[in-house]
């Protein structure tokens, strides 16, 4: 699976304003709303489900990366947003570090395989140090999209 298969080009933001977990999740869900990936009336329900998932264990997976996510019956395909925080977000990560790079995923309950493949793709690409640091240094959504496209074209990991 490629980034372009699930990341919405209109749901990318650099320099997020929020500095805490609930705030950044809300901000990223708003990106999906703006990109018309999720419905207006489902917004609160989706944010709540993502926060509830965080209670089971942080999705801050190390290397300054978090992948908050949930299944939600209101979406019929996997959709995702990307955000970069320069100052970092406190995310209760396993390694205790602040999070600078976030991928938020909402997937249909009946497509768990897609979710697994998206996680596989994100984690494989992020193992590449230069991809990771380029993303964190990105100043515009266009820069991020270009990096994701380059990753899709195997220009980072082999």
């Amino acid at each position: 699976m490629k980034f372009a298969d699930f990341i919405s080009q209109d749901a990318i933001q650099t320099q997020v304003e929020a500095t805490d977990k609930p705030g950044v999740i809300r901000e990223m869900a708003s990106l999906l709303l703006g990109a018309q990936e999720i419905a207006d009336e489902q917004f609160e329900s989706i944010v709540e489900a993502i926060l509830k998932r965080e209670e089971l264990g942080s999705t801050g997976i190390g290397r300054g990366v978090a992948v908050p996510h949930t299944k939600h019956p209101s979406v019929d395909k996997l959709c995702g947003a990307v955000a970069v925080s320069e100052s970092g977000v406190d995310f209760d990560s396993l390694d205790g570090e602040k999070v600078h790079l976030l991928f938020l995923l909402v997937s249909p309950p009946d497509r768990p395989g897609d979710h697994l493949r998206a996680l596989e793709n994100i984690s494989r690409q992020l193992r590449d140090d230069s991809f990771c640091s380029f993303l964190k240094q990105s100043k515009t959504a266009e820069d991020i999209w270009q990096l994701l496209e380059e990753a899709d074209n195997n220009q980072f990991s082999s």
């Binding site: 709540e48 489900a49 509830k52 998932r53 209670e55 089971l56 264990g57 999705t59 997976i61 190390g62 290397r63 990366v65 992948v67 996510h69 949930t70 299944k71 939600h72 019956p73 396993l94 309950p109 768990p112 395989g113 979710h115 697994l116 493949r117 996680l119 596989e120 994100i122 984690s123 494989r124 992020l126 193992r127």
Partner: protein
């Protein structure tokens, strides 16, 4: 007591594969041991103590994962990690928040000493 090495092959029991929650549980469990522990699946070799690394496997239910540990507690590490890979932390119903009651009984610790 010198270093020992241990190897075991486990089959993924998690209904939804090694997604983030099982990966988190595995990495935490592996980190309890002093041994260096690696997982190998479909030709990919990774550090069992890293969630990010485990996710790169994209291992589905039924996938074979080889566990290789080296260190003074290698045997115990391999046994504990194999037990976790073969278990199923996924509740039968969708865990995405519609039910909400399932997660409490599935803390990684409750599985740690079953193997």
């Amino acid at each position: 007591m010198g270093n020992t090495s241990a190897t075991r092959v486990a089959v993924v029991g998690h209904r939804l594969g090694l997604h983030m929650r099982p990966a988190d549980a595995l990495a935490r469990e592996a980190s309890q041991f002093k041994s260096k522990t690696e997982l190998v699946s479909a030709g990919i070799r990774i550090d069992a103590k890293s969630i990010l690394d485990i996710l790169t496997l994209g291992a589905k239910q039924g996938a074979q994962v080889s566990i290789e540990a080296e260190g003074e507690d290698a045997e115990q590490a391999v046994a504990a990690i194999a037990g976790l890979i073969e278990s199923d932390l996924d509740p039968p119903a969708d865990e995405a928040g519609q039910g909400g009651e399932a997660p409490g009984g599935h803390a990684p610790e409750s599985h740690a000493h079953q193997a």
